[in-house]
Amino acid sequence: MLVLEKNALSEEIEQLVAKYGSDRSALIQILQAIQRKHKFISDFAQQEVARLLSIHPVEVYSVITFYSFLCSEPKGRNIVRLCKTISCDMAGKDAVEAAVKRELGISFGETTKDKRITLEYTNCLGMCDQGPAMLVNERVYTHLDPEKAVNILNEIK
């Protein structure tokens, strides 16, 4: 990481700490803000957060690994999460899954070569009556079928 980038990131985290407070209970809000902007929380960012909240870096890492929506490794620009829970499964998740995999040429847990999309499973989204359901970044799509799912993927930049 370049020194300039590090300084910019430090400054950004300092602003977040000024906004949310330097108590350890502000940790999640700060991490979510970093995740939203950078799509991942680098090891440098984790240590900066730890320093500013005067906690230990391993505590930050522990929180990041606990929550599926926070990650410490870079992923694609967009994250597509397909619900794998039983209602969606019975509503035809398998067909959607196969179509999505075929369209992107990757399997779940992987990222496309152009870093456009990362494919993941998620547990229940609470859309059991409208399955199969899929989450694209922060937006939920319901009543999917293979064609609809592929169309959605193709619209993602």
Binding site: H56, P57, V58, Y61
Partner: protein, 625 residues
Amino acid sequence: MVKRENTRTPVSQQPHIVDKPADTATIGGTISVEINEKKVTVPLGTTILEACRQNQIHIPTLCHHPDLCIAGVCRICVVDVEGMRTLQTACSFPITSPIKIRTSTPMVRKARRHIIDLLLSEHYGECYSCFRNGNCELQSLAKEYGVDSYTFGHVEKPRYEVDNSSASVIRDMSKCILCKRCVRTCIDLQEVGVLEAINRGHETHIGTFLDKPLADVICINCGQCINRCPTAALRANDPSDEIWAAIDDPQKHVVIQTAPSPRAAIGEEFGVEPGHSFTGELNTALKRIGFDKVFDTNFTADLTIIEEGTELLNRLKKAIVEKDESVKLPQFTSCSPGWVKFIEHFYPEYLDYLSTAKSPQQMFGAITKTFYAKEAGVDPADIVTVALMPCAAKKFECNRPEMNDSGFKDVDYGLTTREMAKMIKEAGIHLPEMPKSNFDDPFGEASGAGLIFGATGGVMEAALRTVYELVTGREVPFKNLVIEPCRGFEGIKQASVKLENCVEEYKFLEGVEVKFAVAHGTANAKKVMEMLRKGELVGYHFVEIMACPGGCLGGGGQPIPTSADIRKKRAEAIYAEEESLPIRKSHENPHVHYIYEKFLTEGPCSKLSHKLLHTHYTKRGKFIS
């Protein structure tokens, strides 16, 4: 609820301490509960576990540890509380109403058995080949609850790779039962913060930052986590095979130095109650094992006092007489390798405050391979120096690249009390039965001042005895040389001694009030360093810091288990032995005089002693790359 002082533990995990009224007869001060149909009265806020223990009712525990905050994660201590829908954990249930508790219903017994079965289903333990065999809390629970089959299966293969990157601590997470004692030790007790729970659900494991090897993260090697681990997930890096090989090699001249703390604790490994010293017996046992010479680390502890005391006087002289403002005061002790690494990581900008004197262990190594080799007519290349220490960090210290001033690796192996006990047992020796014998010359005699290095405040007490007498020509003004303000287990102790009627050489110190502080445990060290940063230590002259709670006698290499009570007994054993010694001041040790006459002829802090007995430190910082 009283908030525990200086802890960042979330409120939910803090011990339930309810303000206890001074007069327990006051209404609301105590509360009557029924445990197994027996009426007992306890102070309000007592946990069920405490109440049961006070009334001789045994409740099994696993994640609970007297030194640590409450976690309530293992669930083994569940009891039945009347009116509650589910079983309750005794360790985290404060009694605030007149409840009825039952500790041995069929449901409680079955739940506990299931919990043990579930723990065993993920615990890769082959008891025969495990170093905690016979001293494992999970093993004894399994026995207590009559586990005769694996109800929920058993892991056949280790799930994680063993992390043996560190010179001091080895982590084998396949044996971990996720009690989080190590996490609480590292974060709350020591405030170093190496370990935390990583991931979630069945993927949870205890890991380091980014799951890096232990050698690559900021670990001070204190080994306190080892002392508190209920299973063998954490252990010290054991060099006993190499030591056996050296003993069996007739070419090698194997020399062992023994530190004060292991003597006061090693008996525990042989089933003796804490609080008995086995100095003489240990000497005999070590000679029978095959060590060529058995020396006393206290001798170099005396040497440390002379060197460190002289360094302090030099600093004072520079500051007071020469008005040199670059002199760093207070001077910090440097005997504890855990503390040295702590300050290198967390306060590198204050390294100049640290005394440059090596720890007694390293001084001994350097002297053995130079002075002793010449006196005894042994080629230093053939000498193997072993150090029996209560400490895991000493293993790291002897492997520091700068520690080879004798031209060889000064100390070859650091051995913990536990590993020594194992070697003694392997040799077929039952330590308590051994006849007593003395240490070998030339480093056989040491003062009591060296002995008390083992307890927190000991270095300070020893240094004051010498410095005060050097400066004033009189003994310290304390009855029987016992400097009370240095003793006890308070986190940070502060006191002062006034210097009056000084001898001619130290007239510049006339009327100076020597202010000192003593801290143990790196959480307290952190507080002291913050005081220094805020300028609250201005006017202080000398600060002793030990990385482990209780000082060396609570070190990471000492017998398991540990608790405040055990540490107190070990300290009592050390202090009792000290009072029986003929010499109790470092500067009166004849061997110390001898070495300054024969070898370090230019005196303390001279060129040769700087080469052999002093060291330098590395600014490490706390960034993990």
